[in-house]
């Protein structure tokens, strides 16, 4: 039983992908999306606050 487990191949992970450093491209894309959506939320909040003041 133990030897069977020892012979099992290790789980595939994105090691090569990471070693090439390209993961940062994905991070940059996610970063742009996140900053964009966060800015949109903050903008909407401020705009609503302004309108609420006028009312």
């Amino acid at each position: 039983m133990t030897s069977l487990f020892l012979q099992a191949p290790p789980a595939e992970m994105a090691d090569l992908f990471r070693s090439e450093g390209k993961i940062y491209v994905v991070l940059a894309v996610l970063g742009i999306l996140f900053v964009g959506l966060a800015a949109y939320l903050i903008w909407m909040d401020r705009r609503l606050a302004k309108l609420e003041k006028q009312k």
Partner: protein, 219 residues
């Protein structure tokens, strides 16, 4: 702007970075998709939190009518908008789960009690919106909607929290499958998962309050 809103954003931003870059356990079949835990599961936590908020507003609406006082119709507006944003998060949870299921179970959809339970939950809340929309009198609309919303919340808990645990299920956390019990012993994942859940709940709550404020301005 209140601090919890920015804290929510910061936590989500942190989880995007940490969720991709931090070490995760090496497990066959799951492989790197284990990272979906940081993104798929918080959608459901956020849905439940928002539905809990919606339920609280509905109860407060019903209580506001006590002692012959006029109903506080703003509570109805809050309950409806929180439930609406909750359904957006439910759809996001459903679609992200389908992508994950395809990669690990081999199919986008299976007749699994957890999956069917979430689909039924969506229908239950769709009925809430239809019910509210079908009554013209604002007081009657608010009261009927609130009573139904209490009922809907209980059904949601039954369909996604109880029934899936009583039968076999592919989905973790059900039918004797540990939730992410296999992996949550890994403290590194906790360090990303809990902040992600908190961050998304805050962000979802914020979006719901924005919609409430917009609805108030439009009324």
């Amino acid at each position: 702007m209140k601090a919890w809103k920015l804290l929510g954003l910061a936590l989500v931003g942190y989880s995007l970075y940490a969720g991709l870059m931090f070490e995760v356990p090496r497990l066959v079949i799951l492989n790197e998709t284990i990272r979906n835990l940081y993104f798929h599961v918080p959608m459901w936590f956020t849905m439940i939190a928002l539905l809990g908020g919606s339920l609280a507003y509905s109860i407060r609406l019903l209580r506001s009518g006590d002692a012959g006082q006029a109903l506080d119709l703003d509570r109805d507006r809050q309950a409806k908008n929180f439930a609406e944003v909750a359904m957006v998060f439910a759809l996001l949870g459903l679609f992200t789960g389908m992508v994950w299921a395809k990669a690990t179970w081999g199919a986008y959809w299976t007749a699994d009690p957890k999956l069917n339970g979430t689909a039924v939950t969506l229908l239950i809340y769709a009925a809430y919106f239809v019910l509210r929309g079908s009554v013209d009198d604002p007081e009657k609309k608010a009261r009927l909607g609130a009573v139904y919303n209490v009922f809907a919340f209980v059904l949601m808990i039954v369909f996604i929290g109880i029934l899936p645990r009583m039968t076999d299920s592919l989905h973790p956390g059900n039918g004797g499958n540990p939730a992410f019990g296999n992996y949550d012993l890994d403290n590194g994942m906790r360090l990303v998962f809990y902040p992600a859940v908190l961050g998304w709940i805050f962000t979802g709550w914020w979006i719901a309050t924005l919609r409430v404020r917009l609805a108030r301005l439009n009324s």
